[in-house]
């Protein structure tokens, strides 16, 4: 006898209540207890938020004395701004260019591959397009660890949704899951600016989700420090009726122009396409080579050549 447990999206306490109630119901029939014990060993640690909710633990309040909760204050000259400054210090500027747009044949997703720490380029080969599942892609802008971890976590939640509901999760649902998680960590220093692109029953879907808790549905987005440059090229060249090749070339060109002007973007421009059968990686081009293919070197016209002075 299988027990259907609603999966993630339901809060931890509700799950515990349900599992406790099913336990008591089935306890009446002997012989099933051994299987129930296995089920009761469910691990809820994945559901627990690792960050404290409103600061301060309850143990301090319940020790009998009505002492006000207290903690060691950090040694700093400016306490009020301390937390804000420490979050700002950790918060990396979103030095990247990622873009995605919906067109007739699906969703085109493209990104650069440079990782920078201030003025130092730490890597030219970062994978900024994250494969959540075979029909959904996420882009990375902001903190690499934050994006990778939370996209992986989203992939897990999407898979659990599929198993629980016997159908794929929609792009709307997946983006809402991620947005709710990021909203709950709001103000704690996460830096995530991501786009969730996918193809579900309603066709192509594109959502922008960020660590401030914002979530926008749209047809064209670009995120990162190079995004204004990419928007310029994207907006002027965009048509809904494009072939896959045309759209890929538009995406590649937009990334190239952003990497040309923005110091924090560079490396290779990768382009992915999400269609009705899932995503495919279309191309990976070094932006330096793209530059010379778009603007080949021409011999400079010299107006006047300096000649040797004739020595009498």
């Amino acid at each position: 006898m299988t027990i259907f447990l609603p999966c993630l999206g339901v809060c931890k306490s509700l799950l515990q209540v349900l599992s406790r109630s099913t336990f008591s119901l089935l306890n009446q029939r002997s012989g099933l207890t051994s299987r129930l014990e296995v089920i009761m060993m469910l691990d809820f640690s994945g559901l627990e938020s690792s960050a404290p909710l409103y600061g301060g633990s309850n143990e301090l309040l319940s020790d009998g004395f009505s002492a006000a909760p207290s903690f060691d204050l950090p040694v700093t000259s400016d306490f009020d701004d301390f937390q804000k400054n420490s979050i700002q210090m950790v918060k990396p500027a979103k030095g990247t260019t990622t873009l995605a747009f919906i067109f007739k044949e699906g969703v085109m997703v493209a990104a650069d591959s440079r990782a920078s720490m201030g003025g130092y380029i730490s890597s030219q080969s970062v994978k900024k397009i994250i494969e959540i599942n075979p029909y959904m892609l996420g882009t990375m802008a902001g903190g690499a660890a934050d994006c990778q971890f939370w996209h992986r976590n989203l992939g897990i939640k999407c898979r659990l949704h599929e198993l629980a509901n016997k159908r794929r999760i929609s792009v709307t649902g997946a983006s809402k899951l991620l947005a709710n998680i990021l909203y709950s960590y709001r103000g704690m220093g996460l830096s995530v600016g991501t786009m969730i692109a996918g193809w579900d029953e309603k066709g192509p879907g594109l959502y922008y989700v960020d660590s401030e808790g914002g979530r926008l549905k749209g047809t064209k987005f670009s995120v990162g420090s190079g995004s204004p440059y990419a928007y310029g090229v994207l907006d002027s060249g965009y048509k809904y009726d494009m072939t896959i090749d045309e759209a890929a070339e538009l995406a590649r060109r937009a990334i190239y122009h952003a990497t040309f002007r923005d110091g924090a973007s560079g490396g290779v421009a990768s382009v992915y396409h999400v269609g009705p059968t899932g995503w495919t990686k279309l191309s990976v081009d070094d932006v330096g080579e793209l530059h010379y293919s778009y603007y080949p070197v021409e011999p400079t016209i010299v107006e006047q050549e300096m000649t040797e002075a004739v020595v009498a």
Partner: protein, 198 residues
């Protein structure tokens, strides 16, 4: 740069909001609907931080619907406004929602009403209200030209005047606006005022 304003007329209430979704200097989209239809006869125009706006307005909408399912009758506009204010006030000293709301509603017995709800849980029942940088222009326009019992056409004309003033005087004016109206026939979208197509 977000502008939300509203006014009460004869048998209706109007809410106007800009439709830009902005991130520092970038406009991500210019057709973001910020006036939520709370239930059949209530409109809630919200402005503020992106995540807070969506989360808080959806939370209020679901709770208003829940009340109706549980009790069989919908909340009055006054009750919905006080519920919202209560939620904002409770969260204020822990985890404040940075959202400003203009709530417009129509009740069968009391007619149209407009409520001004601040991010620090101020609540006022008003005839005209405005939030955002646009309020600097819209409030004085409305003070000058508003009068009791305006018709729909007069109110729309006043709203257009406010939008024109915001467009011409605000340094980073939003491109498009949406106007929604609520009267005894219900809450619905009235029209858009666009300068750009998305």
């Amino acid at each position: 740069m977000e502008c939300v304003f509203g006014m009460v007329g004869k048998g209706f209430a109007l809410v106007v909001a800009d439709t830009s979704a902005v991130n520092s200097i970038l406009v991500h989209k210019s057709n973001e609907d910020k006036i939520m239809v709370l239930d059949s006869h209530k409109l809630m125009g919200a402005s503020g931080e992106a995540g807070d706006r969506a989360q808080f307005t959806e939370y209020v909408q679901k709770n208003v619907a829940l009340y109706q399912y549980r009790n069989g009758i919908p909340l009055t506009t006054k009750a919905a406004a006080n519920f919202m204010r209560g939620e904002l006030a409770t969260a204020l000293r822990k985890n404040p929602y940075m959202v400003n709301i203009v709530l417009a509603g129509f009740d069968r017995d009391t007619g149209p009403s407009l409520y001004f709800i601040d991010y620090i849980a101020t609540l006022h029942k008003v005839d005209k209200a405005a939030f955002g940088y646009g309020s600097y222009f819209a409030l004085s326009m409305m003070d000058r030209h508003y009068h009791q019992d305006m018709t729909v056409d007069e109110a729309i004309r006043l709203a257009e005047q406010c939008i024109e003033e915001i467009r011409s005087r605000l340094v980073v004016a939003p491109q498009n606006f949406v106007i929604k109206i609520v009267d005894e026939d219900g809450a619905r979208e009235h029209s858009w005022r666009r300068t750009t197509r998305d």
